[in-house]
């Protein structure tokens, strides 16, 4: 059986990815192991603390003994020890021992084997006994003296392994998170670098070989750097040059014999003419200069910046409302929740305004300057937010971040449009945006961790740093894609776009489908959830981990649900069921108000969005059949995506008002009902009027 040939480039990419992953795993494991080892050394510090606490307790017991009460007849020892356990969470077990090591009073679960330890300590009169590990607890013993000299007994202290146990579990989670994020980042970066440096060159060469094989010698390959691949490209160019050179010589010969007189010259002219016409039937030569064959490109080459920008933008999500609280002084007459929600709304307002401008520029300017402007703008915005002391400063800098984000997203959207056929690009867009979701998922976790360990404002500084790394990646590795259209080609203006609003189906899809989706995203996920969780005492790192469930569910569910909906032609049904799932998840909070209920609501929101967002986007070509032809798919989809940001503007403001009146859990439940109501209206409308204009004709007929 013949083996299937393997691609050398793919092998190279895969092996490098495995090597990179191994290196990252080994390095992270080494640092984690060293960290645990170093923290183990802190056990001596912890032992000092146990001794310190023990001495404090022993002093009180000794005071009682000094009043002449025998150690066996002490009263109130148990409540005293219970109080100590409450005050010092590290201490898990306390036992007052007689001078011969027998237990007199004790509180807390007794560590197995502590009795033998107590006997041994009693043998040494409880002096100079080193703390030791006994069945998962650290035990130490201190002498209880009578009159400062005679050993009346001992105090046995069992402390939890908190320093190593729970901390190790937390560390394990944190380091695992680092590994997962590194994995995603490595995939994206390698796809970008190997794609632009090798895969695209190989594809272009293959295309060139294909054109040469069919006798087309009119194109050459562009210049390549000094490498083996470059050598191969130069060899292919040499073939083209040689053939064209001969053709040019032939033309010179033809010119020479053209004017020749006599029979021989006539015969030669005929022979030459016949040969050339026969040759030209099969082969195309370059008439003057060879044109350069355009380089092949893949959509995946443009994913890395999107991943990075989604990453940096999401970093602040778990702490942003809390951060706003630290920067806003109460204003008389304005609700505090409104003040917190306003920057989130403003972010979406800027997206709403900047997206059309960015779309216009994407058609006029090369891609790299737009992405670089986005990277620099984001970095400046984040630095500004980090150093802003006043609420108004925060709003201004946040606007800059939002505008930068709009530029990056729109540039990517425009790239997809340039690279895919018109009937395929909407689906590609829906799927490609999953990379945004993955990037955002990684960002919220990292942001939460940084906020917990440093300060809220530091999260923005780190985000600025990552945005600058993104800019560097763009400069180093990305191709400068030319603008889509010639400046003379008209791009549909604002009025043409507004014509879309005359389409009732489009309007319904936006108002009752896209808008509510963004409404709950900004209102619940970005506004209420961080505030609610923080109110429940959850730390920023855990808020990030809880929020990541939304992104994980969306990333995993979108392709699955979209495929199912597409197979069964049930896009509209998927939109409705998605809203139902979102609402059901939210209604859990009506009854239960804890972290688990929030997690269920977040997962419900993720499933709901995975089921409804992509199928609704796929419905747009059907809904706007005519406009897709007249205005072009790009204009329709850009307008749709611009308008959906209005939901993002309204979300936090509505959430603020609802939270003020009903509290966090009930506000979420009410927003769930709004989503369900919208989906019901949309389903009803599409059931009555159909999803396309052709259904009107069918009805009339």
């Amino acid at each position: 059986m013949k083996r299937k040939p393997k691609s050398l480039i793919q092998q190279f990419q895969f092996r490098l990815f495995v090597l990179g992953l191994l290196l990252i795993c080994a390095s992270v494991a080494a640092i984690a192991f060293d960290g645990v080892h170093q923290r183990d050394k802190l056990v001596f510090e912890a032992d000092r603390n146990i001794e310190f606490i023990g001495k404090s307790l022993v002093r009180d017991i000794e005071r009682a003994l000094d009043y002449g009460i025998p150690i066996t007849q002490l009263a109130g020892v148990n409540p005293f020890m219970e109080d100590a356990l409450r005050s010092y969470p590290r201490i898990k077990y306390l036992s007052l021992l007689s001078s011969n090591g027998h237990r007199l009073f004790s509180t807390g679960p007794e560590p197995v084997g502590s009795e033998a330890f107590a006997q041994e300590a009693a043998y040494k009169h409880f002096r100079d006994v080193l703390p030791t590990d006994v069945e998962g607890q650290r035990v130490a013993v201190l002498p209880v003296l009578l009159g400062g000299e005679t050993v009346a007994g001992g105090l046995l202290i069992g402390s939890g392994i908190g320093l190593r146990g729970s901390a190790s579990a937390g560390s394990f989670l944190a380091f695992t998170t680092v590994l997962i994020i590194s994995l995603f980042t490595l995939v994206e970066v390698l796809v970008l670098v190997v794609g632009t440096r090798l895969v695209n060159s190989v594809r272009t060469c293959q295309k060139m070989m294909g054109t040469i094989s069919v006798g087309d010698f009119r194109q050459r390959l562009g210049p390549q750097p000094q490498s083996q691949m470059g050598e191969f490209v130069r060899a292919l160019n040499a073939v083209v040059d040689r053939v064209n050179e001969h053709y040019k010589k032939m033309q010179i010969q033809v010119d020479l014999v053209k004017d020749g007189a006599g029979d021989e010259a006539q015969i030669l002219r005929k022979r030459l003419g016949a040969h050339i016409s026969q040759l030209l039937n099969r082969v195309h030569f370059a008439e003057a200069e060879n044109s350069i064959m355009p380089r092949e490109r893949a959509l995946s080459d443009f994913r890395a910046p999107l991943f990075l920008f989604a990453f940096v933008e999401a970093m602040s999500a778990p702490i942003f409302p809390q951060f706003v609280i630290t920067r806003s002084d109460p204003i008389v007459g304005i609700d505090v929740y409104l003040l917190i929600g306003l920057p989130v709304s403003l972010f979406f307002l800027c997206l709403f305004v900047a997206t059309p401008v960015a779309a216009y520029l994407s058609n006029r300017v090369r891609q790299k300057p737009i992405l670089l402007a986005g990277a620099l703008g984001a970095a400046v915005g984040f630095i500004g937010v980090s150093f802003s002391d006043l609420y108004i400063d925060l709003l201004i800098w946040r606007c800059i971040s939002a505008i930068s984000y709009a530029f990056v997203i729109t540039s990517f959207q425009s790239t997809i449009e340039r690279m895919c056929s018109s009937d395929y690009w909407i689906k590609t867009l829906a799927f490609s945006l999953i990379v945004t979701v993955i990037g955002a998922g990684c960002g919220v976790v990292v942001g939460g961790m940084i906020a917990e360990r440093l300060a809220y404002s530091d999260v923005f500084l780190v985000a600025a740093g990552v945005a600058l790394i993104g800019g560097l990646t763009i400069t180093l590795f990305m191709e400068n894609l030319a603008p889509r259209s010639h400046p003379d080609v008209p791009v549909p203006g604002l009025w043409s776009r507004l014509r879309l609003l005359g389409n009732v189906r489009f309007l319904a899809a936006v108002a009752f489908g896209a808008l509510p989706a963004k409404f709950v995203l900004s209102g619940v996920l970005l506004f209420i959830v961080p505030l609610f969780l923080s109110d429940l005492g959850v730390t920023p790192a855990v808020i990030g981990i809880i929020m990541v469930f939304y992104f994980a569910v969306v990333a995993a569910g979108t392709p699955l649900f979209h495929w199912l909906a597409d197979k069964a032609s049930l896009s509209m049904m998927a939109v409705f069921v998605g809203a139902l799932v979102t609402c059901s998840g939210f209604l859990v909070l009506y009854q239960w108000h804890d972290v688990t209920a929030i997690l269920i609501a977040i997962c419900g929101l993720g499933v709901g969005h995975a089921m409804s967002v992509a199928p609704l986007l796929s419905l747009i070509p059907e809904v706007c059949e005519k406009e897709m032809e007249t205005l072009g798919p790009s204009t329709v989809i850009t307008t749709y995506r611009t308008l959906e940001n209005m939901g993002g503007i309204a979300g936090p403001l509505a959430a603020a008002a609802l939270v003020n009146h009903f509290g966090f859990p009930h506000a979420i439940a009410v927003m769930g009902l709004i989503v369900l109501g919208s989906a019901l209206l949309l389903s009803f409308l599409f059931m009555v009027i159909g999803t396309s204009r052709s259904s009107d004709t069918t009805t009339l007929a």
Partner: protein
């Protein structure tokens, strides 16, 4: 930039970020544990102090109160080497903070431990504020206890951990970068050899007009496509041969009958 260098640079970039973030986490965990341990010891001292003040407060006369309190504070300071100074600064209820001359406006609770941390602590000390309930003759009043804690032990251990992590991270990154560079060069070798061979084959084809033989087994996608291209090179050689013939015929015609005669 060569593909293998660009790829190893990209891998190293991600590796550097992963190492940096892991080191940050490790340092931060260590730092937090260390701080918690110091704070715990301070809290034990504060508890002891509070108990002592409560107990002794009932026995001493108002006139002796200040001296006795100072003695208790001094003893607590002596008991815990971490504590540099203990000061009862204000009456919590009546807010005598301003009278004490200390600015506590930056005091905030970070949710760790019972005390609030003064964020304007200087570089050598940590300063915490604890609320303590003290008997004042017949009624109990709230007081604020200002505790200054030495950073010496904490800083020494933190710096040692930082230095260690810096060394470890740099070492790991250097090894990682080297390995990724060697790995990328090794992994790229088959592709490099393949491109080299394909370029040589084309040059040979142009020089000799002959297609080189290849082992048809175990070929890659890239080689297979190149062989397919080579199979189609008959067209190229045909074109070149025909052009050659025509050129020769043209040259013969240039020479004219006289030329042919010779």
């Amino acid at each position: 930039m060569k593909p293998e260098l660009a790829s190893s640079l990209a891998t190293s970039m991600v590796l550097a970020c992963a190492i940096g973030f892991s080191a940050f986490l490790s340092y931060s965990n260590y730092h937090t544990d260390l701080e918690d341990l110091i704070r715990e010891r301070v809290e034990v001292s504060v508890d002891d102090l509070e108990r002592a003040l409560r107990r002794d407060g009932f026995r001493i006369q108002r006139a002796q109160m200040a001296d006795q309190t100072q003695r208790i504070l001094d003893r607590a300071t002596a008991d815990n080497p971490d504590i540099l100074a203990l000061t009862l600064v204000a009456d919590e209820m009546t807010d005598e903070t301003s009278n004490s001359g200390a600015d506590h406006s930056s005091a905030h609770s970070d949710g760790r431990g019972r005390g609030t941390w003064l964020s304007n602590s200087d570089d050598t000390n940590f300063t915490f504020l604890y609320k303590v309930s003290l008997p004042n003759q017949l009624k109990t009043t709230g007081k604020l206890l200002r505790v200054e804690v030495s950073r010496t032990n904490y800083d020494r251990k933190s710096q040692s951990m930082f230095g260690r992590l810096l060394l470890l991270s740099s070492g790991l990154f250097a090894i990682g970068f080297l390995l990724s560079w060697v790995g990328a060069s090794l992994f790229y070798r088959p592709a490099r050899t393949c491109f080299e061979k394909m370029a040589t084959d084309i040059h040979l084809l142009l020089a000799t007009g002959k297609v080189q033989d290849h082992d048809p087994t175990n070929v890659s996608v890239e080689e297979e496509q190149f062989f397919e291209f080579q199979r189609n090179t008959k067209l190229i050689s045909d074109v070149l041969q025909e052009a050659e013939k025509l050129n020769e015929a043209g040259h013969a015609s240039d020479a004219g009958p006289g030329h042919r005669g010779t």
